[in-house]
Subunit: 523 residues, 2 copies
């Protein structure tokens, strides 16, 4: 078939297949990137395709602009406006959809479990508590194992992120909704709209009492960080602006509660701003329950659980009295990707080792941060290793780097600043730093590392949306709140990491949702 | 919780809850509408809420603007831009999501099987060949029966449409994709993009040969009417403009085939226009196989079928040699909704009958059109009945109307013009006619029918998109083709039946997709 190109000005897709020759036969180094989040996607966008062959391996075929995920989960924005397809990164780019299953650091080959099935991986899946060794890094536990392919690399950038932390609490993996991927947002949106629809029927053979409806329309958010708070705020806006007018009889039965174990939510904000947030929530009737410990999540008994999916939340402070909820959104933090443990357990090649040597056996491993489990890196984001004559102990000393292997984003811990938060800001700055360093190294003709200035994090401050067009912003230099912060918050998102397509569509949807209401059709 | 309204100008949602008082206690007649398609939605929009209480019962919470469904299935438009939520119809409106299970015409009560679960009914489901009597009109056969509720009516408008016709061909229900609802479009889009991704891997343990890939990338469309032809054209545009540039090595393996049993596709167009369409397709390398009879659809043997979902199509003209395809889209016409058969089998109350009479038993039934199975109506769209002393025979004569029951759209057959096509145009004109007639009747103070001018269909002509910004248009007055028809085609859709929200968003997406490419992220 002749797929002749049209003479239409396209800014993204067509460019790569005409202006850039195939890499076969060139001497460009191949950089393989594991992950397509803030770290992996940001790195791939910045790495110069004229200097390197770029290949992304990720279970997702797109990058999710996570700060707007809560907005899509309530229909203010359309899902696709916060997605950037990996294959539309300008310049030639390779992409294989799947999970990195293992890495042979000696032969420089990644083994990938492919998965390009419909809807693959758009939902956050938490690995089972005691994963079998063969599938611990793979996709949903029970899915058939995908085909395995081998991808060789010259340089490797590990940016596979982290999983949601459930603290092993019973029922969370099975029944809670997470809010980290676009499929999560879609499921939450369907669930919220469906709950209202289910409560809107007149009396039938399986009638719901007002108390049943109060449970179905109770939205519980666990975790008082920015994600949980923003979701609560956006949900409140959706209900007040769009659902209360069309289900007026249900509005008095709705409630939103944020639970946190800490004495105060939004720990990254100072006392005054956090108080402003709590006062705003209080006026909006969003309850915030600090120092509450969730102990178990289960389906309610009988039809209410089986057919309606009502959940029962056991909270330590309430004793045996459980709280009913139609939706539980879980955002309590991160735990390491199981791939990291697997890689750290591998014996690495010893530099310059003589296989015939009779000296006592020496082993070399990747080093993990004891507290968070991430891979330790030096200030240039190179993976740190330790060499020892015994098995890796509790606090081994770093004594080398693994050549051509870099770690960025949520799965990295920098040894000179172990307290860097696991945020999009850090991941994105690390990605840009590393890509630029590698671009410079290639320009200088050197094939090695990035021996210029070490990485330094610049804190641009934190923004959290509070609903009703209000937000709080905190940085070292200033703090903002109210309407001004809202303008900054909305504006800031338009300039970062988005394609022109989405830079246009996001404000269009803001205006359209503001004038005509949010998208409430359910499918 | 105080869901206080903001003082923001919204055009749709808020209006209904403030300007219009509750109907309880008023003397408005209640009009219940079964269905939210062109007929049901169009009728509900036009019926005056100041004169009637409107209640819609439908398995879908939205109206689908079907002429643009093919555009959403390839990512030119975003799904939600062609949906209009039923609950956003201006003015107070009642809505209960579910299937009408039965109607008691004597007591004027509809029994509804509710279903407001997530993703309920956004996928086209074809009823099993021999449905059990209890679930024949219900949702997906194996789903648990929903709660039953009873909705009384004063007037009833049956607009429940028709199902896709599979002619009982083996495997079609299970494996073919239909293109009638938004969930269908979503699944087709995921499938097409996923097929390309699956073919893009390098050699692995489960390697696909070029012949395998040719099967995966063969897109078969069964039915050469406007829906099938437009989908083929849109799919061609997607592949040429967006997928071929990012999967250049796969482009030579792609093929699109349209199969039809008739000697000519697009039967509603004259010979010259149909030839123009075929010449256009021929230049685009879309194969059109007329006089081909599909006999069976099955999963391919082994991994190709089980894991990749490759289908094998048995075609009478090819003997035992089956054709492989990654996707089969089925659009061969309509068959009656099973509810119609159930209603037609019911004995209706005899007007003025004396229950103590000893005269020979007389029965009264709704009348069906023998050829298509639809309910017969008079020129005022009132349901036709027949009274006989025997069981309903092969060609009973209509001798009455069922008071307060109207039938419009695909499930209606008008006795004075039984050849009216089952199209959006007919459904939409019937809906407007009937709603206006009822509005006038209420204004005149009469509670009865609509005794003004009988319904007359005005044929606005037929438009079909052929890809590459070309279309053909035929009406009694003129015929257009090429670029001009394309402009008419796109322009015409903006003015009909869409909310302002979508009237804005659809052209925005046309421009955005034209400049930046279609939405290809898969989730």
């Amino acid at each position: 078939m002749t797929w002749c190109r049209q003479l239409v000005g396209r800014t993204n897709a067509p460019r790569r297949c005409f202006s850039i020759a195939k890499n076969n036969g060139t001497h460009k180094e191949r950089v393989v990137i594991l992950g397509s989040g803030w770290a992996g996607y940001g790195f791939a966008r910045t790495l110069d395709p004229a200097k390197y062959e770029r290949i992304i391996i990720s279970p997702r075929s797109y990058f999710v602009f996570t700060p707007l995920l809560a907005s899509t989960s309530v229909g203010t924005l359309e899902f696709r406006t916060i997605l950037e397809p990996v294959r539309r990164i300008p310049g030639k780019i390779g992409f294989y959809q799947g999970w990195a299953d293992d890495i042979d650091f000696e032969r420089k080959i990644i083994s990938v479990e492919t998965n390009a099935a419909e809807e693959a991986a758009s939902k956050t899946v938490i690995p089972a508590p005691s994963p079998s060794s063969s599938s611990e890094t793979g996709g949903p536990g029970k899915a058939p194992k995908g085909d395995l392919i081998e991808i060789p690399y010259d340089k490797l950038v590990i940016a596979c992120g982290a999983y949601s932390q459930t603290f092993g609490i019973e029922g969370v993996r099975e029944y809670a909704h997470f809010l980290r991927d676009i499929g999560d947002a879609r499921r939450i949106r369907l669930r919220v709209l469906s709950l209202f629809e289910q409560c809107a029927y007149p009396r039938g053979s399986d009638h719901l009492s007002d108390d049943d409806k109060r449970q179905l329309l109770h939205f519980a958010i666990v975790g008082g960080g920015p994600t949980g708070i923003e979701f609560a705020a956006e949900l409140h806006d959706l209900i007040r602006d769009d659902l209360a007018p069309i289900y007026p009889e249900l509005a008095p039965l709705v409630s939103i509660t944020v639970y946190d174990v800490a004495p105060k939510v939004l720990p990254m904000f100072d006392r005054a701003l956090a108080k402003y947030a709590m006062d705003t929530f209080s006026r909006q009737n969003i309850k915030v329950k600090t120092e509450h410990h969730l102990e178990r999540l289960r389906l309610a008994d009988g039809e209410l659980g089986r057919r309606r999916g009502v959940l029962k939340i056991k909270i330590k402070e309430y004793g045996d009295e459980e709280v009913g909820a139609g939706l539980v959104v879980w955002s309590t933090g991160l735990m390491p990707n199981p791939l990291i443990a697997k890689l750290a357990a591998k014996r690495l090649p010893l530099p310059g080792a003589n296989p015939l040597s009779t000296s006592p056996p020496t082993t070399r491993h990747l080093l993990r941060d004891a507290r968070t489990g991430g891979i330790l890196t030096d200030a240039y984001l190179r993976a740190r290793t330790t060499t020892s004559t015994s098995e890796p102990g509790s606090a081994p000393e770093p004594d080398g780097v693994l050549e051509d292997v870099y770690v960025i984003g949520d799965c990295a811990v920098m040894e000179n600043d172990r307290t860097l938060p696991k945020t999009a800001q850090v991941a994105s700055q690390q990605a840009t730093y590393l890509a630029k360093a590698l671009n410079r190294a290639a320009a200088a003709g050197g094939g090695g590392g990035a021996e210029d200035k070490p990485f330094r994090f610049r804190n641009w401050g934190t923004l959290t949306y509070l609903g009703s067009w209000k937000a709080i912003h905190q940085s070292q230099a200033d703090e903002l709140k109210g309407w001004v912060a809202w303008v900054v918050w909305r504006g800031a998102y338009l300039t970062k990491s988005m394609s022109w397509r989405n830079k246009l569509l996001v404000p269009i949807y803001w205006v359209v949702s503001w004038i005509f209401g949010r998208g409430i059709s359910r499918f």
